[in-house]
């Protein structure tokens, strides 16, 4: 690993630890967790991709 890569990895680890500590603090304070309907608001990306792909398939393989 180059010094730059080592530094970047160290920063990633520190960032991850901060996130873990923040989540643990939030849980300890008993704050409301994220809502499912907010985290998953809107259409799933994969469902959007599927709808688009099926439209393309319909156009390409349409009956003549």
């Amino acid at each position: 690993m180059t010094p730059t890569e080592i530094a970047r990895t160290a920063l990633d680890v520190v960032g991850a630890l901060i996130e873990v500590i923040r989540a643990a603090e939030e849980a300890a304070r008993g704050e409301d967790p994220a809502r499912v309907r907010e985290v998953l608001s809107g259409e799933l990306l994969t469902s959007a991709r599927r709808a688009h792909a099926e439209l393309e398939a319909s156009l390409r393989f349409r009956e003549r």
């Binding site: 994220a34 809502r35 985290v39 991709r49 792909a53």
Partner: protein
């Protein structure tokens, strides 16, 4: 990584004096984040697979056959989304015993397990989902859905 943080928070909750309802809400949050992260992993793989299938198929039937497993993964993902939304509604309507949520939770866990199976079949990483499945394993039980 956010999933891991939430899973750790959930473990802390389980060891502390936090209400069962709050623990359930944190479990759902873990699962929701995991599903969102899974969706972000799956979507580009689905698009790549469909592009390849469109290029190599001569008929719609061939295309459908090529996409069968990917479509199953997408369907499982949608089922998991609906299950989590349903469980959140039950958590919102929590009674003292939390019966509604606790009765339905095994079905939600089963739905996520099916998604994990579908993802494994198409070779998509289970990373975020495996953490959520572990966090939700406290709610394992018999699912009494007709399905």
């Amino acid at each position: 990584m956010r999933t891991a943080a939430l899973a750790l928070a959930l473990a802390l909750l389980a060891s502390g004096c936090v209400s069962a309802q709050q623990t359930a809400r944190h479990s759902l949050a873990v699962a929701a984040v995991a599903l969102r992260e899974t969706d972000e992993l799956l979507a580009p793989r689905y698009a790549a697979a469909s592009g390849e299938a469109l290029g190599s198929s001569q008929t719609r039937a061939e295309y459908d056959a090529a996409m069968h497993l990917w479509d199953a993964a997408e369907s499982a993902e949608r089922a998991a989304l609906l299950a989590l939304l349903s469980l959140e509604s039950l958590a919102d309507a929590w009674t003292d015993a939390g019966r509604g949520f606790l009765a339905a939770a095994p079905c939600g866990l089963q739905t996520l397990s099916r998604l994990a199976e579908a993802l494994a079949v198409v070779g998509v990483s289970l990373g975020p989902l495996s953490g959520a499945l572990g966090a939700l394993s406290n709610y394992a039980g018999t699912c009494h859905d007709s399905d």
